[in-house]
Assembly symmetry: C2
Homo-oligomer: 322 residues x 2
């Protein structure tokens, strides 16, 4: 009976989340965006209609709801973070020369680089305009985190081909590139309801640690996942000489063995075997658990309904259920 | 005696402007920008230290001073528009594949495209952060105008190779791409002092029309100017099939003659002769005067000190004195 009850609760939470997702997508589709110039707005519509998981705007709603934020404000703030996120994806895809995103051609592949640069820029402007009328602290946090993301991407590019990067540097990089935005999303719902920045800080901590767990898991899935659900080919980061949690740990663990392996093997199944056999996969699974625990502990001071929702959210997104 | 007096007044205004310029550059150099990641902040420092004319931030100060805006606020707002302007230049230079800007290699030439995309993005974020604590209307206008600039650039790209573009469409494009930002600069100084948007609208009109005059003059200088002061090679827009005020007028005037000319001639001196002989240059000089007059008429309702300053500013920037 107990097991059945838990299943039912999770299932009703999943329904709630999938309802939020479709609500967010409806609102994104209704954004008052001009038709002309088509050069600018056709790709913007293409991006907005992409098959994203929308987990960042969902997080804004989950927290905002617990703090009784105004529904219209929540929707605006949640769309702002989604546009910010999409802006960074469009530009990152150019910088990394990625051809597919969510199973569709990236903007610079479907159109060209100038189109992708400009439509990314305009997405970011649109995200700022969605914040019109919001408390000053929201403008400030939104842009502080946007700068974190740029810094994180700068570090990521700097780290390419640099085999001296430590796990510590890597964690700072993903904290800025992935963690800070999830932290912001968790904070926003509370800030919208007038909570002070200091009082909403634990929510930032929650999102930041969730982001670390999520990104390390992403690195693992990039080797051990399946291509269709990742929407990109396995091993693509490693083939671009990107530093990932796996390559850094493998090097830290035994630099000689790792160098000799990469000199002689390139198939994804060889990598899978290497990371499995040498305990890299296991260590990173432990690491993910560590950051999940940190995320959940950050919620100790949260109101009960908020805590329940967010812990379920953690489970859901790490299960990659949507 | 009267002539001497006017010269002295202009000269003291020029001194004032050049003092403002150096003050703005000092503040830009003192912006609290991190050193790391170098991938991001080295190009940002390179851009900020570029040899721009700084006419947009100067305009913020000139108006702000007339309305007794707080000096620190004026400086922040003026740096924000300068960073916004530089962000658009860095990205436009990639999109147009330009190699030089203010006599120095463009960011994507000195580094590479990913570096230029990212440092442009971060400049825009830094501009938003400079607005922290400002009245809501300033955030809103800043971003509305940023969207105008993206739309203007979108139209500019759309117009490439399109020989059906009318002068009307061209004016809308340059109004968005160049005029709106000068309009914003003129408005900002007044908005900072608490003037309502409606009451500051004549200042937007001033800047917008000044921008139209400035851009048409830019098109003329691109053919009739000298390379060293333009910081780029003459005729480069035409060689990229960009629509300029000259090519549109030449086509409107006599499409057959223009087509036969472009089929047979490509030297800059041939273009100069063509535009001179067929009255295109003269028509555009008249057009510049028309928009200068509109800019100055917009100032009819301005306080006297403001009006005097801005009319002198108009003269100064159209003389390309700095």
């Amino acid at each position: 009976m107990a097991i059945l009850k838990i299943r039912l609760i999770i299932s009703s939470f999943e329904k709630h989340v999938s309802f939020l997702k479709s609500d967010i997508e409806k609102s994104l589709n209704k954004l008052p965006i001009d038709n002309k110039p088509k050069y600018l707005y056709d790709p913007i519509r293409y991006i907005i209609n992409g098959k994203g998981k929308r987990l960042r705007p969902i997080l804004v709603h989950l927290v905002g709801h617990s703090y009784s934020a105004d529904p219209e404000d929540m929707m605006k703030a949640s769309m702002a973070v989604e546009l910010l996120h999409n802006f960074t994806l469009v530009h990152d895809d150019i910088m990394d020369n990625d051809s597919f995103r969510h199973g569709k051609p990236t903007v610079h592949k479907k159109w060209d680089e100038p189109t992708a640069i400009l439509s990314g820029d305009a997405l970011f402007v649109l995200s700022q305009l969605l914040l019109t009328g919001f408390p000053e602290i929201i403008h400030q946090r939104f842009n502080e985190v946007s700068l974190n993301i740029c810094e994180g991407q700068g570090m990521d590019k700097e780290f390419e081909n640099d085999t001296s990067i430590s796990m510590g540097q890597y964690l700072i990089m993903i904290g800025k590139k992935t963690g800070a935005l999830l932290g912001l999303c968790a904070q926003l719902g509370a800030l919208l309801s007038g909570l002070k920045k200091e009082d909403a800080h634990f929510l930032f901590e929650y999102g930041l640690n969730l982001g670390l767990a999520f990104q390390i898991q992403d690195d693992l899935l990039e080797i051990f996942g399946d291509e269709s659900s990742m929407g990109k080919s396995l091993g693509s980061d490693i083939s671009k000489n990107k530093q990932t949690a796996l390559t850094i740990l493998a090097r830290d663990d035994n630099a000689k063995r790792w160098a000799s392996f990469t000199d002689n093997y390139s198939k994804i199944s060889d990598y899978q075997t290497y990371f499995d056999k040498n305990g890299i996969r296991y260590k990173l699974e432990e690491s993910i658990e560590h950051y999940i625990n940190k995320a959940n502990s950050a919620l100790n001071s949260a109101p009960k309904s908020n805590k329940d929702h967010l812990q379920k959210f953690t489970t859901l997104i790490l299960k990659r259920k949507f």
